[in-house]
């Protein structure tokens, strides 16, 4: 079970309190009608599924209820950073070399 730092609660809480929400930074177009089918299909169905750092959404569903984003290494399950929804993705390179643990 992962320990996940909630950026809203500013506390590390067990995975049981959270719900996974899929890949982060997949923004819904402000005006979906202006988006062509191919772009819309990208938005709906295509995800990066990387081996390594993955930006993903979590919701602290049994805590503050807020959505936030998380950079997690899909190989080691190491959580590199969590940040509030709407904030930019942190620089992965700096984090990887900085090393949280």
């Amino acid at each position: 079970m992962l320990l996940i730092p909630c950026p809203w609660c500013e506390a590390e809480r067990p995975e049981l309190e959270f719900r996974y929400g899929g890949e982060a930074h997949v923004a819904r177009a402000a005006d979906p009608a202006s988006v062509d089918d191919a772009q819309w299909a990208q938005f709906l169905f295509f995800r990066t599924n990387p081996r390594g750092l993955h930006a993903e959404r979590w919701r602290h569903v049994a805590g503050c209820g807020r959505f936030f984003n998380c950079l997690r290494d899909t190989v080691s399950d190491r959580i590199v950073a969590t940040y509030k929804a709407g904030e930019p993705r942190p620089d992965a390179g700096a984090l990887a070399t900085g090393g949280a643990s």
């Binding site: 079970m1 992962l2 320990l3 719900r19 929400g21 819904r28 177009a29 005006d31 979906p32 009608a33 988006v35 089918d37 819309w40 299909a41 709906l44 959404r57 919701r59 569903v61 209820g65 807020r66 959505f67 190989v75 080691s76 399950d77 190491r78 929804a85 709407g86 643990s101």
Partner: protein, 1082 residues
């Protein structure tokens, strides 16, 4: 009376405390401190089991957790039977009744042993090759109906217990600075060093006694004292430290992410004797800052013909039985070894008076410290030896040996001890995602770089000597403590003397070339021989993962702890490649089997799942209601009276509701209060319908799509105030809908000022439906004008009902005049009972979910999750009317414009009438276009709902059918899967009743109903109903005669856009719970 093979003195057993037990009905005596294995060995019993596939006699191979053979069934008294326990790990307690397994009728005479003679047919890939046909009646027919049942009965382990487990299991979370796994020499040294500076240390060990190899150590001294003394002192010292917790009988079975380690603790008999409430086992989910893995190493077997005879054992195991338990494995032993450590066993056995007939060393030279000591003690050592076979059947009788200058001959013995070297236990390191690396010189896989905060120490990383392992452990413990941020004062590593290091090792098949066709076992538990592995390679398996699956080597419950390295070496040899090239199979959790009880913990019986009950539940129960599970909710299903069955009860409930008035507990409806200045704007984006212009006090049916454009949920939404909506959802959909709303509100529309609150349990809902519903409730309603004009259909009013504050909605999910009374849950039952009592004069009936279902189907309302399946668009459902055409955007709108979602051929929602009105088709039945379709032909749809309709006095069905709306009036077919008749398998009826037999298949012909048929009945709308024809058009046609036949009063059309309350039930009765249902309850 001392058992015959018990030593006169020594060992750690308590000779003053004899313990009685039985094995296969025969009584034996052991001693406190014995395991089942040591007690049986002390009594001269080695033949304890028959093997999995060949039913060969088997005995004890090891003395520890790696034991593959000696699995027994153990009864600890009534109701406490556990199969497949390793006798080597089962502490002996008074009165144990032990039974051998996998034999019938008895261990000595076993019918299945014929498998051993038939073994030419049981080679590698046996299951894949043998049971292939004939496919007389379809693919895999023979396997499914003939072979599999027999194979399953003949093969296998013990019988599962048939009663519920009477014991309790506890679960804990915990954390510490340093977790040390394994309390052998290196683990003890690590724990001492880690604890010295105050770090919180947990030391766990799978055995009842801590000490690991020190428990069997009689020669070495540590810090000047005999090993046993040093051990006792060290354990006492550690136990006295406030920052150290010792956890014996505790297996670290799994290493997970972020230093999360699963520990399975078996509670001691002493504790359970003291405390009757003590659990049988405890699960510790432990988070450690730093971990020291000191898991030791496992002795490898040698692969040679008949190396599985009872009495053929690992050499160190014999030493453990002797030194730790005072049990001699035999009177005359032969040792076959490729490693010095076996000499230690030989010396100890000789010292205990056991005749050591021969030490056959497979190595050309054996002149290390231990072999020299053995020679000096007068033991006969045969270097460069070859082991040809073990003699004997139910007990080993000799070893067939040869060597340069030693002609092949059988050396008699009653125990044949072998040692192929030592395999470091890298399991936990590997589970932690650390790589293992191959050391060619010694032929070992060793832990490579750590990924998590763990380090290995001692034998599990190839540091084998006692002194070296203890120094390594001390270093690892200090390192762990300092990395956990604790001081770690340097400690002297314990000074070890008289423990010479042992060297050597062999991998692979040791059989002489002439004996390569004999049974030389690699995996004892799954009966895999060396020749099976060679055959697998010969038949094209290249990777060890394929060899493993083809031969099943390493796939038994012991996970090949003893077998894997030999299997790998044999495969590599046959392939002509190196061991690391062939690869290592994955080490999976758990390290050794863990009980289901441990994981279940308290989650069983009534505590398996939370049960949600409405405030009216107990009333329904007192009325004899039958309940059904909907998500976590218990819902009243129907209310049988007298000897009524469900069918009769539902007919009565439906008829009486339509004739007078019915009461229904709708409290489980999901409810969400949507509040804020942007509440209407928010709903505009989350639902397909328009909301901005909905007047305060009015309700509207809302349809929710996911972003892909498919129907996700629906419900009536009432506008309580300009900035406040009372949203209802399906019963099972409430958490999903709230999460969906929060998701969009927080991440896509954060600019909107809206607050969402789950109010599902803040409002109990009493639905009062039927022509007399107004009459029933009117006397109890205060502050609301119930007249048709003042409270029209689809409106909401706040006032009081029976004195309780209420939100009263005029809505209907039955097609009748109806109200839904929302009241606080604490008064709901009294409101219900007050209405119920008053209703007696009107002929009120309580109806359950089944009648609710039937009545809504008679009306043609969908149930999201039953009539839709996540691929249904509003247009597919015939609900294009629910889409606000003027809206620029809502969730799902853009997707509806995708070509696929408006392509011809989509399945559309229709009603079906069977040609035989008495037949109710099975829900889920596949629909085909013609009666004589070919097997495998494309189905054009399926039945989503089907009932016997009391209002129509015939069956009705709802379905999705390709181009359904264009097919109105056509006839379609389904196989005769009829409720109450024998249900045919997935093969369909046609494949079961071949035409040439002259029996026509039974078909159910159904005609699609044209919605035009309903149009003429507009005038028969019940009060408040929208123009019937209009609403009909908006729904689908279906079993539309419902309205024609049910007596209705004429009523003026209302302006309401849609008449009724939609979906209530999330899924079909009896359908499996979905994961999302479980989290219901925001």
């Amino acid at each position: 009376m001392t058992a015959r093979f018990r030593t006169a003195s020594g060992g750690r057993v308590d000779r003053a405390r004899p313990i009685r037990f039985t094995f296969d009905g025969k009584s034996y005596e052991g001693l406190a401190g014995d395991t089942l294995a040591s007690a049986l060995i002390a009594n001269g019993v080695h033949f304890v089991n028959r093997s999995y596939k060949y039913h060969r006699p088997r005995g004890f191979l090891s003395a520890g957790a790696e034991e593959p053979n000696a699995l027994v069934g153990v009864a600890e008294g009534p109701g406490r039977f556990a199969p497949n326990l390793r006798a080597t790990q089962t502490p002996l307690i008074e009165g144990l009744a032990v039974t051998s397994q996998n034999r019938w009728p008895s261990l000595a005479f076993d019918v299945g042993a014929v498998n051993d003679l038939m073994s030419p047919f049981y080679g590698a890939g046996f299951y894949y090759k043998t049971f292939m046909g004939p496919n007389l009646f379809g693919k895999n027919w023979a396997w499914k109906t003939i072979y599999e049942p027999i194979v399953r009965r003949a093969a296998g382990l013990g019988q599962p217990p048939t009663n519920a487990d009477p014991d309790a299991y506890a679960q804990y979370y915990d954390h510490c600075d340093v977790l040390v796994i394994g309390a052998g020499p290196s683990g003890l040294a690590a724990a001492r060093a880690a604890a010295a500076g105050g770090a919180e240390v947990i030391l766990c060990d799978e055995q009842a006694e801590m000490g690991g190899s020190l428990l069997a150590e009689t020669r070495a001294t540590i810090d000047g004292a005999p090993a046993a003394e040093w051990l006792a002192r060290t354990l006492a010292d550690l136990a006295a430290l406030p920052n150290v917790r010792l956890m014996p009988r505790t297996q670290a079975f799994g290493y997970y992410a972020q230093n999360f380690v699963g520990l399975a603790e078996t509670v001691s008999q002493d504790e359970r004797a003291r405390n009757a409430d003590a659990p049988r086992e405890r699960l510790w989910q432990l988070r450690a800052r730093e971990v020291v893995i000191a898991a030791g190493a496992i002795e490898r077997a040698l692969v040679f013909p008949d190396n599985d005879r009872p009495g053929v054992m690992l050499a160190e195991a014999a030493r453990v039985y002797l030194n730790r338990y005072g049990a001699k494995v035999g009177e005359r032993v032969v040792l076959v070894t490729a490693h010095d450590s076996a000499y230690r066993a030989a010396l100890d056995l000789k010292g205990a008076g056991v005749e050591v007939a021969m030490i056959a060393d497979l190595r050309a030279k054996a002149d290390g410290a231990l072999p020299q000591a053995a020679r000096a003690a007068g033991l006969r050592v045969l270097a460069g030896a070859t082991i040809h076979a073990a003699a004997g059947k139910r007990r080993v009788a000799g070893a067939r040996l040869s060597a340069p200058g030693f002609a092949e001959q059988t050396v008699a013995c009653d125990a044949l001890l072998m040692c192929g070297g030592w395999t470091p236990s890298v399991h936990l390191h590997s589970q932690s995602r650390g790589k293992v690396v191959w050391e060619e010189a010694r032929g070992l896989f060793l832990p490579g770089d750590s990924v998590q905060r763990e380090r290995s120490a001692g034998a599990c990383r190839g540091v084998f000597g006692l002194a070296q392992a203890m120094a390594d452990g001390a270093r690892a413990g200090a390192d762990a403590a300092s990395r956990a941020g604790r001081p770690s004062p340097t400690m002297e590593a314990p000074a070890v003397a008289d423990a010479p290091e042992a060297f050597g090792g062999a991998l692979g098949d040791q059989s002489p070339p002439a004996a390569r066709k004999a049974k030389a076992f690699v995996d004892y538990q799954n009966d895999v021989c060396a020749k099976d592995i060679r055959l697998a390679v010969q038949e094209g398996m290249r990777s060890i993962e394929h060899v493993k699956r083809y031969t099943t080597t390493g796939m038994a419950t012991d996970q090949g702890k003893i077998a894997n390295m030999n299997a790998l070496a044999i495969a590599a040899d046959k392939l002509g490649r190196s061991v690391p090239e062939v690869g290592l199979t994955t080490f999976r959790q758990p390290y050794t089997p863990v009980t289901f009880g441990l994981f279940a913990g308290a989650s069983r019986g009534d505590l398996f799942d939370p049960v949600r009950k409405t405030p009216i539940h107990d009333w329904a129960a007192s009325q004899g209601a039958a309940f059904e599970d909907v998500g976590l909710w218990k819902r009243a299903w129907y209310f049988p009276q007298g000897r009524e069955d469900m069918h009769a009860a539902v007919r009565r409930e439906c008829r009486q509701t339509r004739a007078s008035v019915g009461m229904f507990d709708a409290s489980t409806l999901g409810k969400i209060e949507v509040v804020g200045p942007d509440a209407a704007r928010f709903l505009e984006r989350l639902y397909t319908n328009p909301w901005a212009k909905l007047e305060v006090g009015r309700c509207r049916y809302g349809l929710m799509l996911n972003e892909q454009g498919f129907i996700m949920d629906d419900g009536v939404i009432a506008r309580i105030a300009a900035d406040r909506f009372h949203v209802t959802t399906t019963t099972g959909g409430a958490p999903r809908v709230l999460n969906h709303m929060e998701d969009y509100l927080q991440t896509e529309f954060p600019d909107l000022k809206v607050w969402l609150t789950s109010t599902t349990e803040q409002w109990a809902v009493i639905a009062v439906q039927g022509p007399k519903s107004r009459e029933l409730i009117a006397p109890f309603v205060e502050g609301i004008d119930l007249s048709r004009e003042a409270t029209p259909h689809m409106s909401v009013r706040e006032g009081r009902v029976c004195g309780a504050p209420a939100r009263l909605m005029r809505v209907s999910f039955t097609g009748e005049l109806g109200f839904e009374i929302n009241v606080p849950p604490d008064v709901a039952r009294s409101v219900w009972e007050t209405l119920w009592a008053a209703g007696a004069a009107l002929g009120v009936v309580a109806y359950g979910t089944e009648a609710m279902h039937v009545m809504r189907a008679e009306k043609g309302y969908i149930i999201v999750g039953q009539d839709t399946d996540g691929t249904v668009t509003p247009d597919d459902a015939g609900m294009g009317w629910a889409i606000g055409k003027a809206k620029a955007d809502f969730v799902g709108k853009r997707s509806l414009a995708r070509a696929d979602l408006s392509a011809p051929g989509r399945k559309q929602f229709v009603g079906l009438l069977t040609e035989n009105p008495r037949v109710v088709p099975m829900e889920g039945a596949q629909i085909v276009a013609r009666a004589d379709y070919a097997v495998g032909e494309h189905a054009i749809g399926h039945v989503t709902s089907a009932y016997d309709s009391p209002a129509l006095d015939r069956s009705i069905a709802l379905a999705v059918v390709e181009n359904g709306r264009a097919r109105m009036g056509e006839t379609v077919f389904i196989a005769a899967v009829v409720a109450g008749q024998r249900r045919d398998s997935r093969h369909g009826l046609r494949s079961r009743v071949p035409r040439q037999e002259g029996r026509a298949p039974r078909w159910l012909a159904l005609s699609l109903r044209r919605r035009a048929a309903a149009r003429s009945r507009g005038a028969r709308c019940p009060p408040g109903r929208a123009s019937r024809s209009q609403s009909r058009r908006r729904r689908r046609a279906s079993s539309c005669a419902a309205t024609r036949r049910s007596p209705r009063r004429p009523a003026p059309p209302s302006a309401s856009p849609f008449p009724a309350h939609p979906a209530r039930r999330p899924r079909a009765r009896g359908a499996p719970r979905s994961g999302s249902d479980r989290t219901n309850g925001y």
